[in-house]
């Protein structure tokens, strides 16, 4: 059955990640603002990805609206801080809650109407596109396509400086802790059950609907909080920052690469794609082509993610990894045998 890892060992990967994040600037960045900026971008994507991983990787809800949820968090923060003169911290809380509420609503609707994966995807995609149009349409509030400055932003945290790096580094570590806590709690048990076989889970007493909504609310809150913090740290909001092809595609690819449903998958995916972006900096158009190829190859060959594939290889040659890796889904065993 499932080997639930002992709490200490369970958080080892998170601690390791935190250590690496703390140490990396000294070891590698030097004083290059450019590299720091890239790292911050990677951390922001990783933060989105952990939230998305919770929603899609754990409970199979294809939310193609990550960018929109982040934008909701960011813009609500910006608008409340600037137009309604709220102070920045309550504004960020409001932004996070707005995203969590919308994510929860989308999930509730999907669950109530028993929408399958594809219709959930279509509805959330529609929301994503409508949100972009909303941002552009309500110009007097959002600044439209020229964007809007968040005057309450903290310049010291702007995203090409170390402050921004540590801010988002902390966010990612925090999210990983939450993810891990969920994994080893009854939430995780319920998520695994409903992910493997929804009907069997219902019969076993798991309230599939409720756990799906929980996952969506928490994941959306993560995404919204990241968006809100982005508004706070970067100080400038514009619609393309949160567009489907900027955020959602990347998050989908990097989570799939790292491994849907795994703890560190999003982080590893974000790191790899940060390197890839850096390598492709001079061939902008090729980037789109490459993302497309990655999606195709990933989902053709490495459906469980590259990390799982590598982990499978390691399993055969070494003693088991941390307790979490020892757990293997029945589907995987069947797959190996056939």
């Amino acid at each position: 059955m499932t080997a639930v890892p002992r709490v200490g060992r369970a958080f080892l990967p998170v601690v390791a990640t935190a250590v690496i994040i703390v140490v990396l600037p000294q070891v590698w960045f030097g004083s290059s603002e450019y590299t720091t900026g890239l790292a911050v971008q990677a951390l922001i994507l990783a933060a989105y990805a952990v939230g998305f991983n919770l929603i899609f990787g754990s409970t199979n809800q294809l939310f193609l609206c990550v960018g929109a949820l982040a934008g909701l968090g960011g813009y609500v923060t910006g608008i409340l801080a600037d137009h309604a003169s709220w102070s920045i911290w309550p504004a960020m809380v409001a932004g996070t809650l707005a995203a969590a509420a919308v994510g929860g609503l989308l999930s509730w609707v999907s669950v109530r109407r028993s929408l399958g994966v594809i219709f959930t995807g279509i509805v959330t995609l529609a929301f994503s596109l409508a949100f972009q149009d909303l941002l552009l349409g309500v110009e007097h509030l959002t600044g439209g396509s020229t964007g809007q400055v968040v005057t309450a932003a903290a310049v010291a945290l702007s995203d090409n400086r170390l402050g921004g790096y540590y801010l988002f580094g902390g966010v990612v570590v925090g999210f990983l802790i939450v993810f891990r806590l969920l994994q080893i709690s009854h939430f995780g048990w319920a998520f695994r059950a409903l992910h493997d076989d929804e009907m069997a889970a219902e019969l076993a007493g798991v309230d599939v609907a409720r756990y799906r909504i929980y996952a969506a609310v928490i994941g959306s809150a993560m995404i919204g909080l990241t968006g809100a913090l982005f508004a706070y740290s970067d100080g400038f909001l514009s619609p393309p920052t949160f567009a489907f092809d900027q955020v959602d595609v990347r998050v989908l690819v990097l989570v799939a690469f790292g491994g849907l449903g795994t703890l560190l998958g999003p982080v590893i995916g974000a790191v790899v794609f940060a390197f890839l972006d850096y390598a492709l900096i001079n061939s902008g158009q090729l980037r789109e082509l490459l993302y497309g190829l990655c999606i195709v190859i990933l989902f053709l060959g490495f459906r469980r993610g590259v990390i799982q594939a590598l982990g499978g290889v390691a399993e055969r040659f070494g003693p088991g990894g941390t307790g979490a890796k020892r757990w293997r889904r029945p589907a995987q065993i069947r797959e190996r045998g056939s």
């Binding site: 109407r113 594809i118 529609a126 158009q285 082509l289 490459l290 993302y291």
Partner: protein, 286 residues
């Protein structure tokens, strides 16, 4: 008022034609082809390059449609193989993700090689008056073609043996196999037909407004909305939904505003999924 409705119908027939290709493939193969718009753009660019190379427009258009058909068949024979091995929800998800990737590949290649490419077909003639409303002759031609194709499809699906074979595979893949119909063959043909329709849409749309290299995603989303509202898998549904949405779009654009129009259309799609999951004329679960 009359102008708004007629405009809407003209637009809607184009939308319907756009939706038919997508809805056919979903109804038949259970695959939501997110690369559909890109196939249309690919055909458009091929036609544009042919015309620039001196080929007469009519011939170039035919080649474009054939190119679309070829693309469809190629996709079915290669990328879709692993998708067909899955069933139900897994097939849908895998098909969705693979075609999404393919869409990015195609758009990436096109924007990389020909970033400013666009197809525009000018149909000779002044505005045509229908019911007292002047309409651009290109738009009228586009609508006529759409209606003709729609009628042809209807005849195909009801009166020909192969057409009926297609419908039987849509209804029950296993049952069709049991009576000797080959689902893989039917799927390949329909994918090819869908590709041809995409190419045709590119050509007819180009008669009203330029089709650019970046139009792919937009076309896919429009096709998606029309298909979903009309009922995934239903050809008449796609046309009906297209016309309805075309009128809504036209009215909304005239009386309300540009951005709100997009939101209204997207909202209509979402609302339809929530209230009638099988769409206006659809008959089975998506």
């Amino acid at each position: 008022m009359k102008a708004v409705i007629l405009d809407g119908i003209v637009l809607g027939l184009g939308l319907g034609l756009l939706g038919v290709g997508l809805t056919l493939v979903y109804g038949l193969a259970g695959v939501l082809n997110l690369a559909y718009g890109e196939i249309a753009v690919l055909a458009a660019i091929i036609v544009a390059q042919l015309i620039a190379g001196g080929v007469p427009a009519g011939l170039a258009a035919v080649i474009g449609v054939l190119a679309g058909a070829t693309a469809g068949i190629l996709i079915d024979l290669t990328l879709m193989r692993p998708v067909y091995r899955e069933r139900g929800g897994h097939r849908v998800l895998l098909g969705l993700l693979l075609t999404l990737g393919l869409a990015f590949v195609i758009e990436g290649v096109l924007t990389w090689r020909d970033p400013l490419g666009a197809l525009s077909i000018n149909v000779a003639g002044g505005p045509v008056r229908i019911l007292g409303v002047p309409l651009a002759v290109g738009s009228v031609w586009a609508s006529v073609i759409a209606v003709a194709v729609g009628a042809a499809l209807l005849v195909f699906f009801t009166a020909t043996t192969f057409g009926r074979a297609v419908r039987s595979v849509i209804q029950d893949e296993l049952g069709a196999q049991l009576v000797g119909i080959s689902p893989p063959l039917v799927r390949t043909v329909i994918f090819g037909l869908s590709g041809a329709l995409a190419g045709l849409v590119a050509v007819t749309q180009a008669m009203t407004a330029p089709v650019s290299v970046t139009a792919g995603f937009n076309l896919t989303v429009l096709a998606l909305i029309v298909s979903v509202v009309g009922g995934l898998g239903s050809v008449p549904g796609a046309f009906l939904a297209g016309v309805l949405l075309g009128i809504v779009d036209s009215a909304s654009a005239t009386y309300i505003g540009h951005y709100i129009t997009s939101i209204v259309l997207l909202g209509a799609a979402a609302l339809t999924i929530l209230v009638w999951p099988s769409g206006l004329l659809g008959s089975h679960e998506g």
